[in-house]
Symmetry: D2
Subunit: 304 residues, 4 copies
């Protein structure tokens, strides 16, 4: 059996001028690779990475910079999501040339009213698959992307080019079923989220994707699971009951950026107009994180 | 630590004349108590028990018959959900007189447009709590009942009379958080569903509520969990990935009734107009169930 | 062409003991029949009438009392909605014996998870139609009832027994289409809500259903429309832009009861636990209503 | 009183190579200006214009080409929607330099989970307003954009730079209220959709935005309304009951493109992967359109 996967999506640090802060990205990726032991890094793949604010050239630069910062230590998967399959393909070629190991594509929202049909979705992924040799990750995230039914997910997973699924739903009934009908059925490896990690591993799913520093907690969960230390795995999983949930009214990117700033791997504030956590919220977050697997990163003097 | 709870909700068998079939109910409850080792039985508590079709006298008869069939072997919790707090209270008194151990009350939908406020919900539960000494289970099931936010759920759980929560959501992010903020915080014991059972136990929740024969699989999951046989617990939990999910277009009551009929504890068909599983669907369900923890109940000749 | 219909649903006045206050109901119905010139009165038909709190005997009493108060001045349609088709049929027989002109049946929510299929819905209405000679109103109100698609609505409207549809949706795209495919196509008369009244009439729908005192404003809209005084009809319709919308966080029944109390036809408070409008809210409502078609009912001294 | 506005959003014709087909756009805009007498043209503003497939340079080219094709005959409003306020501002400057009369900005979805707060939305629009002198249209379209509450809509409408609102909701209760609290209150002119046009005008709203050839029908509705020919206005409005509703499973862009192709102003097929109407669907659409205000555009030989 393959070891569980830990796919980590670096948060995008911005300078005051709202350019990508590459030195901060380098430090963050070092943390992700060395401390979290990510099995794969995603470049500009999920919305929490705030890539949607970037123009195409900036997105390409972020992919290039991410690959450069990783320095070949682990494979990199490039996000190529775009409403136009042509732009997605152009990004796939760009990523392929830089040595990316895979591409991730959000199941797209139909821009005008209504949901895409299965035929629409199949045509979109097939058009991309025809033009790249890289394996494709089907990324399911209703909101920015389409709501995809169980039946349509299975149909897409059967496409030979689709080798991995990144599922954002926290619905364990849906996830359980898809782990069986997609991952255990051999169609694609199935990855979920922080909150679902231990349940995913136990049911035979392949792992999870997440931003740091959730990835450090997740690394410990995976290690405990592989070592069959189930009590420890469960105790660690419990850390995701309140983090990031209690601050999600701010959105995932602001909470995770606040957590990174607290543990000494600063990545700055969210891209405007979204607000960072207030001082009070940050204190409460710090108080929680100190009690868990990230506690060792708080120095005596760094009390937030 | 208290042992995990397994609260079982008997399906309601109907005769051809659509009366409750008490002999069938007796056999079903024997199965629930002896074979599933339920820690508690719910009488007319969840919608899958098809109690909403019954008039008030029939509901009372079903509560009385359920208590009679259980014969004191385990405690019985009576469902007293009603839009009117006065009817709920009358049912509570009725249940108390018969020796029920607790009452279960659905967080009610506001009958006219919009969601109930926290004040509405508090007033409703407080009105009931004033009139009964029985502990109250807060039952959360959006659709038949209201959508209750995390904050409102915590507020209701802090009511002294509310000692248990029955959560129908399969959203593991919500459930994780509420296990911590409600159950581990000492406000009320938190019970979920079949699909969430192992994840619930691992995070420190109290158990799950479900109809049979899911309860037989759940019994094995709980036993394995208590015995710290985590691989076996996970393998059993996996049975809930496809059952009942693959047939949920028919609804939960029809799938569970079909499964009971297949394992030799017949409970008849769903109340009209809802259709039982087709012959083809029943065959597929049988083929699945034979491979799992219920397989031993299929005799060589009983192939569906 | 038939004149537009104005179907009025009396609010249910409760005594301090939460019994139906029949003298208050009588005064309200006199207002509905004489002042609003309702073309039909609904007894215990819509959730805003707070009938869901009542036991079966109380519901029957409310139907009987409503019919008695109307005294044959206009036809009465009895609400017979119930999850069980058998109870719905029993109520239909009861209503028929009392001289009701029609019955209204909510498209029922599937009690257990998921939406009813078209076959489920057809079977339910056909079962009722077989047992009563009264024409049936298909009542569509997602929340308390099922979400019914355009296709399923048309299929149900084609049942010979279904002669009228009461639609609660404010989606004018849906309503426009159904007016054409149901009402103008000759399958059933299509009735909507206060907010949709003028648009409904203009597109060829049959009228609207509502509680008082919206019905008094509606009467003026209908009269102006029939008199082809379109500017006046539009000016009156505009009164429904803020009333009841601005107070809908309290729910429809509390807003309409507050309005009735203000215009001198008192109907008391909502059934607990739902709160009446606060004093401040009531003042704001009074200030608005004084400026419109109900203004003449405010005496100089009755300033709220 | 100002005359009602008819803001028309040209569909984007694509060549076989998926480039914008400028000659086809020119013919379409001539139709919009001359035949529909649009009061304003939108360039790359609504998703039905399929602008989301375009890269930034292509979007700019589409804005420039649209302005060129309009040739100053009516004002042009440029769509500048982008998750990044910086890109939106850059597009505003570009549009301003080309002589655009206004800019349209979609209320943005929060890219990561959850809804934007009022503060987020205000900050976003204020950031744009600081950098352009052009009046801003607040564009509300949940799905591609955020769900914005009534309270937040009113707050945004009070911003001095926001002079117009484009509302995509077909909820007449919401629209009625906002017409009163936004348009009649003097904060911004309120524009809706085809299906809402007559109701909007009657309640005092300012008009509607839509693609052709709905705009030709809308022109007749507006003319009839201004001429106080209410019966004719209502009869014309009724054409929007089935068109485009009956084909909306394909999405709005495919239906409207099919209609344009049928009336002899060809604009090609939708951008892949979305499918055009089938031959059968096109025939049914033609049969419907022949019977209405667009019927005169079908020559005897052009039967689809």
């Amino acid at each position: 059996m393959e070891l569980p996967g830990l796919i980590v999506a670096p948060l995008t640090p911005f300078t005051a001028a709202l350019e990508v802060d590459v030195p901060a990205l380098q430090r963050e990726i070092d943390y992700i690779v060395q401390d979290c032991r990510a099995t794969m890094v995603v470049a500009a793949g999920v919305e929490t990475q705030e890539y949607t604010y970037l123009g195409l050239d900036q997105r390409k630069a972020l992919i290039r910079d991410t690959i450069a910062c990783v320095e070949g230590r682990v494979p990199v998967m490039a996000g190529i999501s775009h409403p136009s399959f042509k732009t997605a393909i152009a990004l796939a070629h760009f990523a392929e040339d830089l040595g990316a190991a895979a591409v991730q594509v959000l199941a797209p929202l139909r821009p005008f009213a209504g949901a895409p049909t299965q035929a629409d979705l199949m045509a979109y992924y097939e058009a991309i698959a025809r033009e790249t040799r890289l394996p494709i990750t089907l990324y399911l995230n209703p909101g920015p992307g389409a709501e995809v039914s169980v039946a349509d997910t299975i149909a897409l997973a059967r496409l030979p080019a689709v080798t991995l699924i990144k599922e954002s739903s926290r619905d364990l009934a849906r996830v359980s079923r898809l782990i069986v009908e997609v991952d255990r059925a051999g169609h694609a490896r199935y990855f979920t989220t922080m909150q679902m990690l231990l349940a995913t591993l136990q049911l035979g799913g392949s792992g999870a994707t997440m931003p740091p520093p959730g990835s450090e907690i997740a690394r410990h969960i995976i290690d405990a699971f592989v070592a069959k230390d189930h009590e420890r795995a469960a105790a660690l999983q419990l850390e995701f009951a309140l983090f990031p949930s209690k601050w999600m009214h701010r959105g995932l990117a602001p909470v995770m950026k606040a957590a990174m700033n607290l543990i000494g791997v600063p990545v700055g504030d969210p891209y405007p107009p979204y607000a960072p956590l207030t001082s009070e919220e940050t204190h409460a977050l710090a108080a929680l994180l100190r009690t868990g697997a990230l506690g060792h990163r708080f120095s005596a003097s760094a009390a937030a």
